[in-house]
């Protein structure tokens, strides 16, 4: 099951209550959406502190702008739309600060011996992603890690489906060019 399809009625109730300032509903939304927003930010920015800040900014924006959320859209696409804009701002800030592109490896948790191979594979995927320009990185992260549908990605990025598919194909081609199909971790 797609992660972001979980309990849609439950979610819309919480969104409506939170928009009216209900503290419990606001907390519910924060607990529900902070983890995917953090994961997305970390994969976009490849830096834990920047991802922490971006995720916090995103969630505060989400809570403070609930009255602007269009109920005809999927909530996930609205949240990820805000998250990607925040990450792009964070990315620009980092470039202005003159920070070098980070190759910091994403922490995938404890790694007992039997998981070392898996960990190395994950490292390689994240390194490959970090090499891509943000416009290509974001579509792959949204699809493969956050399990948005293709149509939802188009909605989150406010782009036509054709443009999204072109970006996905180009992103995949760039990964192949960078590492070669046979060299990709499988």
């Amino acid at each position: 099951m797609r992660l972001h399809e979980a309990q849609p009625q439950d979610e819309s109730t919480h969104i409506a209550l939170a928009a009216d300032g209900d503290g419990t509903a606001r907390e519910w939304l924060v607990r529900r959406w902070t983890p995917p927003v953090y994961r997305f930010s970390l994969r976009m920015l490849s830096n834990e502190q920047d991802a922490y800040d971006a995720a916090q900014d995103t969630m505060v924006k989400v809570l403070n702008n609930l009255h602007r959320y269009d109920r005809n859209r999927a909530f996930s696409t609205w949240v990820f739309g805000i998250a990607r804009n925040t990450c792009i701002d964070e990315h620009r800030k980092r470039r202005r600060r003159g920070d070098m592109p980070s190759t910091e490896v994403v922490d995938t948790g404890p790694t007992p011996l039997q998981e070392v191979a898996r960990h190395l594979r994950a490292e390689r995927v994240h390194e490959a992603l970090a090499e891509l320009p943000p416009m290509y990185r974001e579509v792959l992260i949204m699809y493969h890690f956050e399990h948005l549908k293709y149509a939802e990605i188009a909605e989150a990025l406010e782009l036509p489906m054709g443009t999204v598919m072109n970006r996905i194909f180009r992103a995949r081609q760039k990964l192949r060019d960078l590492y070669g199909t046979n060299d990709l971790p499988a």
Binding site: G21, R26, E27, V30, R31, T34, P35, Y38, R39, L42, R43, E48, Y52, A55, Q56, M59, V60, L63, N64, H67, V106, D107, T108, G109, R118, R121, A122, V125, H126, L140, H144, F145, K149, Y150, A151, E152, M161, G162, M165, N166, F169, R172, Q173, L175, R176, T181, L184, P185, A186
Partner: protein
């Protein structure tokens, strides 16, 4: 749902060799068909690589920090305050002009426009409902004061 694409079409989708129109068509089908989506996963080493990656650990403090940061939200300005404030200011402006007659009406109108502009900006910038309410009280006070002064001035002019 559209008919299932055959394996050759799904393979072309994975290889990125489809035209835009067909790619969109297949993508929309994949969005709604777990069967074909699973077949794509089998055909695509890249998808398998992504699927094998664990999710990063979310820092334990983050949720608490978000809740703390959002605890003093920028509340939207309640519309009723804006409406009441605007009506009061408009009434004050109308009374001033009526009381002062045509003489000096433009300078008074200009002063009122300046007050209205700055107070509206203040109201919009308030971080909480209570501060917003306090600002509205100031608006009321200012409007009343201007009304009283304008009436007094025009009375003197009349004498």
């Amino acid at each position: 749902m559209t008919p299932h694409p055959d394996t050759a079409l799904l393979q072309a989708f994975v290889d990125g060799t489809l035209g835009e129109h067909t790619a969109v068509h297949v993508a929309l089908h994949l969005d709604d068909c777990p069967l074909c989506a699973n077949q794509v996963l089998q055909l695509d080493p890249l998808s398998q690589a992504f699927a094998s990656v664990d999710d990063p650990v979310v820092p334990a403090a983050l949720v608490g920090d978000v809740l703390a940061a959002a605890a003093t939200p920028l509340a939207p300005v309640p519309w009723i305050e804006l409406v009441v404030g605007t009506v009061l200011l408009a009434a004050a402006a109308a009374s001033t002009m009526a009381a002062g007659g045509l003489v000096g009406w433009w300078s008074r109108a200009r002063t009122l426009i300046e007050v209205l502009t700055s107070v509206t900006a203040d109201v919009l910038a308030q971080p909480s409902v209570s501060v917003s309410l306090a600002t509205s009280a100031v608006v009321l006070g200012a409007a009343t004061l201007m009304l009283v002064r304008a009436t007094g001035t025009s009375a003197q002019e009349a004498v």
